[in-house]
Assembly symmetry: C2
Homo-oligomer: 145 residues x 2
Amino acid sequence: MSEERMQEALATLKSSGVRITPQRHAVLEYLMHSMNHPTADEIYKALEGKFPNMSVATVYNNLRVFLDIGLVRELTYGDSSSRFDCNTTEHYHVICNSCGKIVDFHYPALDEVEQLAEQVTGFNVSHHRMEVYGTCTDCQENKSH
Amino acid sequence: MSEERMQEALATLKSSGVRITPQRHAVLEYLMHSMNHPTADEIYKALEGKFPNMSVATVYNNLRVFLDIGLVRELTYGDSSSRFDCNTTEHYHVICNSCGKIVDFHYPALDEVEQLAEQVTGFNVSHHRMEVYGTCTDCQENKSH
DNA sequence: TTATTACTTAATAATCTTTATAAATAGTGT
DNA sequence: ACACTATTTATAAAGATTATTAAGTAATAA
């Protein structure tokens, strides 16, 4: 299942004329298989074992390549570092105010919002993003103690 | 009109036991009267003339105070620095992919999304945010040349 | 196969935003 | 006016990201 997506992504890269290097492959693979929207640093740390000499810049470079092609999305929240999400299926995020946990949340796309925004502002709308904030179950329990 | 909001904000500060210093007053005033969701640095630069010795830290300190009291909201987008919005009336933002312009967009609050998110994830939901992205009218024109 | 070229990596420095620290200053209540 | 404490200032420090440059590596053509 996620193998398919991986093959598809590799094909997209190839057709965009992007070389598939071992480091690039590893970053993409990590993104594909990770469910927690990692930061650049988390990716870097996770691949340290496999690529002891890899530079942080390489992670950033490759993330930018993926971003440009549209393979991944960059998510910026209040905290200092960006997170990267390669889940291309439409979904929203629910974020814990207290521990920062991010949970995927499926909801029918809000097309009518985009349409109204276009009418009201004259923008040529491309997409939207939404996040819901709250306290996750773990943090709710911790607080009650 | 915005004078009322200013008075109201000052009252909120006072009742929270926060001192109203000239610098603090100026930062708040600038936020209140600015319509373009400024960054901390923009605020700093704008007040440089009036307060030649003001420190950047002062801007950040005051912004945090305002955030804690709930007078302003912090907006984090893809670009490097946070923006600050003191418009407390509920609204969403439409952001230009090309020039970064931010336009306010009024739409009935998506309460049902919050409710469903609560049910599905078990979170105790506090709020949500949404941004619509696209190309603004100016950038559409520029592209067509 | 070899050479050429362009792309990619790695190492490092630099930049930029934001936060921490400590001393000086200024508000506020008495 | 005095004392107490919050706030400002100046500076340094931290952290994330980008720029730079030299070295390495894949793709392509001769």
